[in-house]
Symmetry: C2
Subunit: 864 residues, 2 copies
């Protein structure tokens, strides 16, 4: 083992060093021909490809639609980094399978009914002055009207609030410019009293509403008590946006059934879709949340429904806080411009986008100039007088997103399957790009904030049909990336969405996110506080109280403490587990066979899983993460005894015992192995120290992890020595194997540290050396020679100092090896390796380049 | 609308045509500099990038680990196409949220306990002669020992079987060469009687086992009754593989605790990991499933546990069907070579891979030459005598996969974080590549089958640490793609896994998969048969029987039939829904607000959702898929009445009624709109027919979908006319709007068809024309000119036939527009558009190219 350990260090480092500069053996033209790529394809590839380890510039959060989750991907690489469990249980993350996450999920139950999914629609970040802040993310559930809060410091869901008055929603979650409120607008109208009413009472009793959820930033939680709603007519409200800049304090909500049509296909009436599309215009609701906030302080302005304040239409109208403006037929998006002055609405059954000017709206409101009132008494503003203008865009304009360049906007066309780039100030179409197919929402980078970043746009296509390898009747949707950096939009990437039907995305500059990579020891990630059951090394225990059994355990590479737990049938069993690791990415998982519990335990986290041990028997528990080479061995047994039964002991199996001599011999062997392994570790440590590893943060954190593992050896070694002293040779052997386990883990991380350091330290290769390496590899020289070690041929490190006039000697030898077969040195080598150096027919330039490569090797010889 | 519809057709087609040949405005060098890409990065990008619509060559199925799902991705693009719900409910697919999928999921309950997750490990395809067949996929659950069957014709899970004797498993699911059996080997030993036994009885009572699940290929189902198991000693069995070729009939299962160490850290004993790694060798179990199949026919050879036959070790040994061979310390992978002769085992705590020669094994067995027996009486073969040889590979060799080239194998090194390419016949290391980091399983294309395809390898890295944008303490894992086509392995792509901790993958040539894209009408996808509740158009109804209410409904763009359903509180309500669409990707979803049910209803599928209406009130139901522009309108209401309550009717809201004249005027308007829209549709139809659309399969299927929508108009139009005749003008208007809805849907698909056809028909652009288009776009000509239509400037189609000596005229005009401002034609244009053609300062070559581009436009004028 120790020999290989040493050898491996050498090989790894050398390959790594080679790897960084080696040139690929095939050229671009060949690849283009083979893969039938056009020049345009290659440019698109180069615009989106991320080399290993390179980070993306933007991070996108996408709703997962009816998957009930959020997905996170990078731009421009279009690689999905995470699905976050929000409304749907997700066992990998332990979400809904450990006690603390179950509490979050169960906050979302509706009047006692367990809800285990959601139809997520619109994600939104916390904001300051209308700009995105990467602290929290909000997302709504259309099916079961709810809002969830995701903590972006660990990408976990920490809160779900149920809308107390709605039966359905859509226009959530929209955030006011300083995250004062999270806005949630209803969709399908229903009686707010939650009672039965026939459809004939639609106009009289069914209502829409908008809920203003108060966000307590310091706590990172929605304050339900401080939240309130505003009653709306039953117009089927839709998307919403908060004003900003000069429209600060106001908010805007669309609607699409101002006809108040109530369908009835089963009675021979035309379906909803016919009657809801009848009028040429619907209504945009314009309301002032700062005024509503004041109204909500006075009981005369609101009714209490299910413990929640709902401001009446009447009170809002009276206070001048609610107005309607006609908007193009069945609108979808309502998007406030970065400066807050314009509000752009696409009427999905109109062909125009309409640009409203908030200044004009405000003037009409201030002058109290209305064209009338709707049946509910809400003043209606003259559409034409509020418009800056309209632009004919095409079929099915839905949503809008803004560019970094002032006045530029992008609109999705559902029927035309296009994105249109246009100027909303000068009302002029600038460019179009086809997408595949039937685009819903779209985004540009931070394009819905007060400071859009431009560069890329995303098309959220609803149908993908022929785009991808077929995977059955349920197709992935297609998120297409569009380069909007130039004058002409260019489609550069197709991303299939493997799970969920995303509805909307929101993007943020990657550097605005600062997630932690480990938790402070003992954290309950769902509360952000120290877990009541945090257990440190040495505190492991089992506590019993009546039929409740609480196990306080720990996890570390690669054992669970305790390894055996016995309970009685019917006991309520809770495992509390703390992951003692401090190294990034050293996650453990925990499952008990057949008991439907699972936890993901990242470094520093404390989790709990509770179940009733209702079946007699023996149940293995284990770490579900492939956390180390000894991962499979990280297990234990839960024994469930039936207290009513008598158990007779079973006859033992007779096994041969080891003799004292055999034990002594094994003990010596393991001691020797450990000594030799330690020598290798020390040599790695010396290398790391000599090269000042602490200067390189990535290397430093690896070394710290390695030393952490190494630090555990002392205690275990003491146990081994103590056992040996007591004459328990078998015990001593076992503890020595445990010493070896820690050494393997130390070596595992130490090697990664050394390789990283070597990569940092190697001198850059000059072009000639790079070409030389390419020739060396193409020529198959590496078949016999391994840099830094003797292989089927001699080590080439130092070859240029082994001969007089070495460069010429090496040149001649490569050029014509046979010419030197009779030289003493070469003869010796031939005898030793039983191989002759063959003629690889290199040309002169290649040989010269190889010599440059050999020089580079000698420069970096200490690293191999 | 109709004007825009026409205009949009033109713009769309023209842009599409442009799009296919336009050159990107930025060049590769600039992008490389901006994005800091090396030449090697660009080559890797070109090797992996898939242009929009291009399909992948291989499809990979990956276990999702403790996500309980399977993920499907493409090689070389490394894009994830689907997550398939297997052991965990997944609402997007309706899996576990509709009745029929719930039945599948509940098959996996363990002795009455609901299990809603799994720890998936090893996916495997159906096989014929050891080669992969893309019909079914099997996957195992380590935590709750089970096997699931996934139907690859629709990528849905159709069966879960629970292992009747195990408490934990790992070595599943491995398939015999003609899918006779699916093999499942236990992991953590436990008493087969499922009763309590203390750890002291480990050797005497705890057991491992291997279950041979019989697969009924015709039914696509595991036949539980025809399946049986073989008892194993409590050695913690691990991975398994079936023999093939000359080892056909045999199977091989690893183990890692032949020490039978039982841990006890909580009692002060060394942990499992120490004692399980003590011996230098463990045991490979070698057994013959053909012999076992015969033994399982005779009750004297087996015991019945929980209704399942378990062949005793004794009977298997007696029949010469079970042997042990020592194998390197704590092995992981056991992988049979494509020809079946060699079995390669990596001892994860050894540094070697060991190559066993089946011929040698067979000879020893035939000669009954054993070195002894284990404590359970199983004959042990001499390790050295069975070995072809061993090769020192490095630290932590785990798994193996084979190359298309005979004798070549790839092995993962967990601790060294490398893949090693070596020759298992000549026992020689050939190449190494670094991966990031700590690789578990690996794969090469079809690399574990009898006919490996080579080309690409996949590294399943367990830690990704610094590879990706940070997303909290729980990192994605990293699947890295390696080009193994050349002599030197090259790492070319990093794929973060956003959900789950994949354990193993299996790959198949994409053309071996033939999934359907729609279902035969009325299919129950979980049984593959016609659903008992299939409902066709016109058959919609509500049936009541006691407190059971069954709704037989249909779904089609964009309404649900029925739209109103009233039930009593406490009723058990079932919605049966058939998606009447026949077009690919026209999936509908179905949810009832707050009742925790969801279904995904792909074209042709019939689904059922059942719930108890236990809360009074009004509950919207709706289509959860963004299925058309009218998607939001696809909804209905469920009314839950409390039969014990008396409801008083609420006063109606007084709304203004429309006058007869107003109604007549609206009726005329909608008739005119529909007529004009239909004219546009007819022009599209004419274009499609004139150009023989039926010759192009993709276009043909779109046209069929469009005509399908169009075909629905007749019936609706008749209703409108009938209403009008009866004097119900309001009804007539509504039905005419429904006519318009179908027209919009026809246009939606028709446009896609026309654009596709235009793309097929356009002549290829010559390089000069391509350059011309680029110059045209760079010069901003498209700001005023839109090909095929009059915009802010004249349509340029036919410009070369509008002037005498036109090429010269156009050249001169572009070169110096002012020189022609006084020409009559130009004067007229300037007056008409109120704009002067500006000088864009094109050079002569650019102008010549633009003229070539204009020629191409004229050639294809009919398409715009």
């Amino acid at each position: 083992m120790q020999r290989l350990l040493k050898q491996s260090l050498v090989v790894t480092a050398s390959l790594l060093a080679l790897g960084t500069a080696s040139l690929a053996s095939s050229d671009l033209q060949t690849i283009m021909k083979e893969r039938k790529l056009t020049e345009k394809d290659v440019l698109a590839a180069a615009k989106t490809y991320q080399p290993s380890g390179r980070k993306d510039e933007f991070v996108v959060f996408s709703s997962g639609g009816q998957s009930g989750q959020i997905l996170v991907y990078g731009v421009p690489s279009m690689r999905i980094y995470k699905y976050i469990g929000v409304f749907t249980p997700e066992p990998w993350q332990g979400y809904g399978f450990d006690d603390d996450s179950k509490k979050v999920l169960r906050q979302g139950d509706i009047r006692g009914r367990e809800i285990n999914w959601g139809d997520t629609h619109h994600p939104n970040f916390t904001e300051k002055n209308g700009e995105y802040v990467g602290d929290y993310l909000f997302i709504n559930d259309k099916a079961n009207p709810r809002i969830a809060v995701v903590n972006l410091h660990d990408f976990e869901t920490t809160q779900i609030v149920v809308n107390p008055i709605m039966k359905s929603e859509h226009g959530g979650s929209f955030v006011t410019p300083n995250t004062e409120y999270v806005i949630e607008a209803s969709q399908y109208a229903a009686p707010l009293d939650h009672q039965y009413h026939p459809i004939e009472e639609y106009e009289a009793v069914f209502r829409g509403a908008v809920t203003l959820w108060k966000f307590d930033y310091a706590k990172g939680k929605i304050d339900e008590k401080a939240s309130f709603s505003l009653e709306f007519p039953p117009y089927m409200q839709d998307l919403s946006d908060a004003g900003k800049g000069e429209s600060f304090g106001w908010a805007f909500t669309n609607s699409f059934n101002s006809e108040m049509y109530t369908g009835g296909i089963e009675k021979g009436l035309p379906p909803f879709e016919a009657g809801m599309s009848r009028n040429d215009t619907d209504y945009m609701h314009v309301y002032n949340w700062q005024m509503l906030e004041k109204l909500a302080q006075d009981p005369k302005n609101y009714k209490i429904y299910h413990g929640h304040r709902v401001i009446s239409i009447e009170a809002a109208v009276k206070a001048g806080a609610l107005f309607l403006i006609p908007e193009p037929k069945s609108p979808h998006g309502v998007d406030v411009s970065p400066d807050g002055r314009y509000i752009v609405v696409g009427g999905k059954l109109d062909t125009h986008a309409s640009v409203y000017d908030f200044r004009k709206i405000k003037q009409l409101i201030d002058k109290k100039e209305f064209i009338g009132a709707d049946p509910y008494g809400i003043p209606i503003l003259d559409m034409k007088k509020t418009l800056h203008g309209q632009v004919e865009l095409g079929l099915g304009p839905l949503h809008h997103t803004y560019d970094a360049q002032d006045g530029i906007i992008y609109t999705s066309l559902y029927v035309d399957s296009q994105i249109v780039k246009w100027d909303y100030k000068n009302l002029k179409v600038l460019d179009r790009v086809n997408v595949h197919y039937n685009i819903g929402h779209l985004d540009s980078m931070e394009g819905k904030s007060a400071k859009p970043k431009g560069k890329y746009a995303l098309a959220l296509d609803k149908l993908s049909i022929d785009r991808f390898n077929p995977v059955g009747p349920l197709h992935p949707q297609n998120h297409q990336l569009i380069d909007i950096g130039g004058p002409k939009m260019e489609l550069i990437y197709d991303l299939p969405i493997p799970l969920g039907e995303p509805h909307d995305v929101i993007s943020i500059a990657a550097d605005k996110l600062k997630p932690q990579v480990t938790y402070p020891m003992g954290t309950n990630s769902r509360t952000g506080k120290q877990h009541e059951a945090m257990t440190l090394a040495g505190q492991e225990r089992v506590e019993r109280k009546g039929n409740e059994v609480k196990i306080y355990g720990t996890l570390i590479r690669s054992h669970i403490n305790p390894e055996h737990v016995t309970v009685n049938k019917g006991d309520k069993v809770t495992f509390y587990l703390t992951n003692l690791e401090r190294a990034q990415d050293e996650t453990h998982g925990f499952a008990v066979s057949g008991y439907n519990v699972h936890a993901s335990v990242e470094p520093g986290k404390t989790v709990a899983v509770t179940f009733t041990a209702d079946e007699e028997g023996v149940f293995p528990y284990y770490c579900t993460e492939f956390c180390s080479a000894l991962h499979l061995e990280m297990m234990g047994y839960l024994y469930v005894k039936d207290p009513k039964k008598k158990y007779e002991s079973v006859k033992e199996l007779k096994l041969q015992k080891m003799s004292k001599e055999q034990l002594e011999s094994e003990y010596k062997k393991v001691i020797a192995t450990n000594k030799a392994t330690d020598d290798v570790i020390q040599s790695v440590v010396k290398f790391l120290k000599d090269k000042n590893y602490a200067k390189y943060p990535k290397v430093k954190s690896l070394v710290e992890d390695a030393l952490d593992q190494y630090g555990k050896i002392g205690e275990v070694k003491a146990k081994a020595d103590e056992s040996y002293k007591k004459g328990d040779v078998n015990g001593a052997i076992l503890w020595e194997y445990q010493v070896w386990q820690y050494m393997v883990k130390t070596a595992d991380v130490g090697l990664r540290a050394k390789n990283n350091l070597a990569k940092e330290l190697a001198t850059p290769m000059k072009p000639a050396a790079q070409k030389g390496e390419e020739a060396y590899l193409k020529g198959g020289c590496n078949g016999c020679h391994v840099i830094g070690q003797v292989s089927s041929g001699p080590d080439l490190t130092g070859v240029l100092s082994r001969h007089e006039n070495a460069e010429k000697w090496v040149f001649d030898f490569i050029k014509n090896p046979a010419s030197k077969y009779e030289e003493d040195y070469v003869k010796t080598m031939i005898n030793y390796f039983n191989l002759r150096m063959p003629n690889q027919h290199m040309n002169d330039q290649e040989i010269k380049d190889i010599i440059e490569y050999l020089k580079w090797i000698d420069e970096n010889a200490g690293l191999f």
